[in-house]
Point group: C2
Chain length 253, copies 2
């Protein structure tokens, strides 16, 4: 073999070694990515199958705290008149102050999407409420098609009913948003969709022996939430919960 051929073959061998090492490294990385993370399940979810693995994982992690929350209430031997069940908009309410003669339990949880509400619907029974006021759906609403919204909301109502067969269930409409302010801006394309969702909630109420409460109309001006009511386009300033209290008063008492 002459000197040139030798150099070519030698450098070819070197390339071969590099490629083998590189391919082995690829296989290791691929193994870690696909089996040690939830990339696989995320791809399955993205193409329209399976549940969002981050959500499933999150719900698993949260569940022991929800159990603790339920257990605390259960062991306090409370007989509630009303449970308010929902996301941060419910969390920030304080209807116990407005209706001091009733035993009211606030079960709001920040950032809850409908899946989260379904996940913890079981906890309502811990206080044996006579009435359950539900508000949910605005979190992740922009990313939720209305047919999916309908299915999930029905599942939520079923879950609440199963655990509380004797309670009266009140489904409160989604509030309007202000799409020019704070987090409200992510709902800029949802102004009319919220009205459609509320029609769906009203229909679900009718078909499931629940009472629909239209809060949307009490707050909206041109189908949106006036700036003065809201700190971020989505959440109410405390004093504007009075409008809510006025609307539900006939159902509460």
């Amino acid at each position: 073999m002459d000197s040139l051929s030798f150099r070519i073959v030698n450098s070819k061998n070197m390339l071969r070694y590099i490629i083998i090492v590189s391919l082995l490294f690829n296989v290791c990385c691929g193994y870690i990515i696909f089996f040690k993370t939830d990339v696989c399940q995320k791809i399955i979810y993205k193409i329209g199958f399976g549940e969002n693995p981050s959500m499933v994982n999150k719900r698993k992690i949260e569940f022991r705290c929800i159990q603790g929350w339920e257990n605390t209430l259960y062991k306090m031997n409370v007989d509630a008149d009303i449970v308010f069940f929902g996301n941060s908009i419910t969390y920030e309410s304080n209807f116990q102050q407005v209706f001091p003669d009733l035993k009211i339990v606030n079960m709001g949880c920040n950032k809850d999407i409908i899946d989260d509400l379904i996940n913890r619907a079981f906890m309502i029974k811990s206080v044996h409420p006579k009435k359950i006021f539900v508000m949910g759906g605005i979190n992740n609403f922009n990313a939720t098609p209305l047919d999916e919204f309908k299915i999930k909301y029905e599942t939520l109502v079923d879950s609440i009913r199963i655990y509380n067969p004797g309670a009266n269930i009140f489904l409160q409409s989604i509030l309007p948003v202000n799409p020019t302010k704070g987090v409200g801006t992510i709902y800029v394309d949802c102004v009319n969709k919220i009205k459609d969702a509320n029609e769906i909630i009203e229909n679900i109420s009718r078909n499931n022996n629940c009472t629909y409460i239209d809060l949307f109309s009490a707050y909206q001006v041109n189908d949106t939430l006036p700036q003065k009511y809201t700190r971020d386009g989505l959440h109410l300033y405390p004093k504007y919960y009075d409008i809510w209290a006025d609307v539900i008063k006939p159902f509460v008492e």
Copy 2:
């Protein structure tokens, strides 16, 4: 160029392309593994620096539920006589039944390690308790060196005190385990270590104006938990909470 040289050069080019693609793939995989997962932080944690990223992430995810739990209690306007604060062993207790004339709130949470208890110590203040009974430390105890245990337990007591400056704090000893049964078996090397940890808790009580309650002695036979008391080597059968109730009775009333 003759035919042989051409083939060598050509195959060399082909190898070059493969190696470039392979290296690019390596870079992408490396990027995903190091920046889109917590591998980096896990390595830092393994070599003794930083906090366990899984724990940090878990606590972040759980926090909104803990907030909801706290908010529910706060808005119920409860003035508690006693809060029982701890892990699943507290969760499974029902001292409200034993002391029906007192307002008792069970704040047990399954699987809580001391870090978790520190994380949610703020929630105790929601019910303005006169007395706080704490039990914690057995979860992850086998993997926790005693000096670390001491630091964390002191932090826990500080956290409880900061949020509840007027309350009396009672630190209850860790219970003995049965290392031949169920989950108790993972504590097979901890029989004496539990006694040492209880001495640490007793010292912390003395130095922090808390009251130490020795439950260990009330349950132990040869430093372990007799089989008949425990369903899994760690948790008590409901009826054997009576022993606990007898020990704490003088402090409760």
